[in-house]
Amino acid sequence: MFKRHPLLRAIVIFIECWLIAITAMVIIYFAWLRDWQMNWGASTEETTRYMAGDELLENPTLNATRAVKIKATPEQIWPWIVQMGYKRAGFYGFDKMDNAGIPSAEQIIPEYQNLQVGDSLSFLQVVEMEPNKSMLWVFFKWAGPWGNATWSWGLYKIDDEHTKLVSRLRQNYSFNSFQEIITWPLMDVCEIFMMRTSMLGIKHRVEGG
């Protein structure tokens, strides 16, 4: 009787379809998509190579190394990275989400070029810096679930005209609060959208596209 009513039968089919779809999405994500997105654009050498801050977090749950090839020298890319930050030059990504709606800079801003180790970039702190080569940001403890996460940037010269820009984000997930239970699965899947956009935003600006 229950199964013969078209509406009830449709609801059962609807729920079954979603269960199948969610199971398929989880399997596809962990079997293939996660590895691909966590290492987007990066070679095996780049994902395994040491980067600043690696020693701060051992065996992180989130260990994302992304890379993009830019037609420029490290010296031409560096000023764009140095000036990044909330309410500074932005993150060259989704300005309404990560820069209070202020458009990310389209040019190099001289007053943001003298960044020093120890400087604060809102919820991030500059911990290591080697001009034209690498920079390490660590999230402040108070930055919610991101507290203590490390975000490293590296510039690796390929030839006289090309450089590989590499970003590595590392964090250990914990599920001690409702906020973290909600945050981590979402961030694991969605963080690539922001990081990729940011890195392509840098490439786009440096290459003058």
């Binding site: 013969r4 609801i11 609807f14 989704f94 300005d95 956009t197």
Partner: protein
Amino acid sequence: MTDDNNTAIPEYKIKTFRWLFYISLLQLLVFFTVPILIYPAKLLLYGLILAALTVGVIFALFFLFVNIYGLFVDKNRKPLYIIMVILMSGWITWSVISWLWIEHMDYILR
């Protein structure tokens, strides 16, 4: 004894499918009320676009498959399902293009 007896789809199955179509359509409409509730008026359009390009794509895919199935099950409403398939395909294509060339999509970034 005609072939129609073999190929005819039971009325019950068509009715069930139509309910499935309405539930899936309702799901899509409810999904778009979420950004309306959480984004301030100033950011509403931005919120809707982001929702459509992220989680919305999954709902669009779901509705696309429902409509493709409808083409075979409910032949009397074929034109409606064709229109929906075109709309959903357009939505999915738009999101794929947007993410492929995100650095040029100023309407999402700014």
